[in-house]
Symmetry: C2
Subunit: 470 residues, 2 copies
Amino acid sequence: MAKGDKINFSTPSGFPEFLPSEKRLELYLLDIIRRVFESYGFTPIETPAVERLEVLQAKGNQGDNIIYGIDPILPPNRQAEKDKSGETGKDKSGETGSEARALKFDQTVPLAAYIARHLNELIFPFARYQTDMVFRGERAKDGRFRQFRQCDIDVVARRELSLLYDAQMPAIITEIFEAINIGDFLIRINNRKVLTGFFKSVGITEDKIKSCINIVDNLEKIGESKVKQELEKEGVSGEQTQKIIDFIKIDGSVDEVLDKLKHLTLNLPETEQLSLGISELETVIAGVRNLGVTENRFCIDLSIARGLDYYTGTVYETTLLGHEALGSICSGGRYEELVGVFLGEKMPGVGISIGLTRLISRLLKAGILSTLAATPAQVMVVNMQEDLMPTYLKVSQHLRQAGINVITNFDKRPLGKQFQLADKQGIQFCVIIGSEEAAAQKSSLKDLKSGEQVEVLLVNLAEEVKRRLS
Amino acid sequence: MAKGDKINFSTPSGFPEFLPSEKRLELYLLDIIRRVFESYGFTPIETPAVERLEVLQAKGNQGDNIIYGIDPILPPNRQAEKDKSGETGKDKSGETGSEARALKFDQTVPLAAYIARHLNELIFPFARYQTDMVFRGERAKDGRFRQFRQCDIDVVARRELSLLYDAQMPAIITEIFEAINIGDFLIRINNRKVLTGFFKSVGITEDKIKSCINIVDNLEKIGESKVKQELEKEGVSGEQTQKIIDFIKIDGSVDEVLDKLKHLTLNLPETEQLSLGISELETVIAGVRNLGVTENRFCIDLSIARGLDYYTGTVYETTLLGHEALGSICSGGRYEELVGVFLGEKMPGVGISIGLTRLISRLLKAGILSTLAATPAQVMVVNMQEDLMPTYLKVSQHLRQAGINVITNFDKRPLGKQFQLADKQGIQFCVIIGSEEAAAQKSSLKDLKSGEQVEVLLVNLAEEVKRRLS
């Protein structure tokens, strides 16, 4: 094709892609996430990118999300079929086009469908993780993507689900972010029953509780005085508003907050729901402690509620301290009626989610994470003399068999250029073998970082490289 | 939702999903594939699932594939916007709908776009791997999927690309399939220049060479007499046909085939292209041998051509011996004008591809591969007494820190039921701690496979489990 054809080969707006050094970082993080998820017995699944539209829209599950429908397009050389059928190429391929299909916009609706599809093949409690791509017709502005990877875990039961599953979530969040080593973070824990219970106790009517919770949930974004205004707009009295403000400002250590909450129940009417919430919160906190999560990693934050309607108990948000503007880097909670939706069953579950694409993109921009080397290769075997190529190939294989990633340089170029090529890709070591070295069954091992060069017998080369890599 | 709502929650036809035991097998295979790819310095990339339609259709790159266009769908609660705008919800979200977009149907066109997009950020030769999902509007029949994972490597240069990159491919294929342990396989190697050169030499005109090659490529499928018929239909003379048949039936060891080919050139006119092909084939074979691939793993098969027009040199197919009906399990070749298409540059490249979803599905059906356990958990800490839960949680964390995957059973159930639950998921070991054991800081370790049960001090538990797992 001539350059003049001017095809716009850029990615469609909002559909990001990584350079190798960034993609390698993503895989590194995915490996950590997978290791931690699996260490708690979460098992991997992946649902198709495409679901029936009726599944994605079941009972308003689409929420406010704009989703992408899919439709077959015939290749240009088969347009005749389309013209004949008078349709947009919907059936000649066995593609009937009769069922509307669309790309999934989250992992939760597909999890519900997956459970419905395989109910009798799954073992409950069903603890699964998923790290698939999801698709949303978002306005493609800073940090909002139309395709992104979301790492989710959920554990779902058919009847009862112990609160200790809720307690595992902060332990999992802690392990992941400690392993990623991104600095101090704080997991904020709350319980929706505490919130709804408290609102009930101060006399907010059932129909207003949800909107009041959403107002309170925005405390951090909009500030106290705005929360007051919004509550008053909802028809909440001045006295009630003050009680609510006092309530969400309760702070202190986890034990202090629990004590203050319990004290509160003594002075309020109708505290059944509130007390249940407090008791759940206590059980979860005790579990979190028994799992060895240190006190500096978590707190109770009565203002967080997770906007989503489906949470009914424990809720979590995770803040990167000093980088609060990033928003929550890992959130989730407990729900009752979400994943049983296609079966008409109540299925309690609890889960958390990491928006990995967004997280990486933002942490890179903020300088909190760095990209990796552009190649997984750790060694380049350089090309000194074309006639020694059989030796270079054999030495390369020998190193690979020892678990070392190797690029053999096949191109004849000056040695300095070859070192440059290695260094540019982040390869630390070059193996240099000329005819003298080959005859003596040895090599020169050059460390491009330190500039140091040592002679190593070929028989010891793999071991020496591994020693220096570790 | 009531069951009566009757949402069809099955997957759309042709969009497969795995059970956990199958998805775990896929991840296991992906880990092997990734390890081998990376050991040769191939670096990971991932391109978006969605590209501009003009990119996917550039210069007929869509081939015969039916691709899926995407279009935004507004959520039901925002249909009003759609009605107002008189459009199908294409802009209220910042989704202009002005650019046609579609799901990628292979990894090659996106690789070409990726290289064009990042030309100055990439280092050449650029060796990348990709294990993304691709989408095709295939007739969803046995073993054909509309979404499937394809594992591709390609190495691409801006000018010259050594034939030793071609030689690495059979080494990589060998390592992967030996590690997967699926029995004997044979990599069939050929060179398109040998084919086109030979056809030229026997007097087939330029315009008929492609169709003749495609006929010959089908030898295995349609048999010799049908090949003869088809060639004659193309206007190939009886004498030429006989020469072609004799040619593609050349067999023997690799060296015998090379000898026979060289002998052939002595008796034919216009052998420039043929001789070039033979010389390339010799270089590649020598490289394959130097890389330590054993003779039983590869052969020269003059009948294979890979239908795709873009191959210009080395081509590969891989047959699982005894399961030839599965077709090629890993194929590829060298091309000149494929990945430079958006830049108007010649960029030689060589690559191979494994259609992983299809491979797993067919190998499972054929009983060649087995699924893994339904969970990655290796140990279940059972729930003997609710009041010992803090101990169970601590012991579980202790095991996890030693790298063991653990499910703590939170539900109160008879011990036998808990063993059953573990066994059903493929968990081999149960850790049993009653009050007596807890007091003595020990546990009973039960091997569900052998039935054996031993007492182990808690301080030695992780080590003992690891010893028994290995």
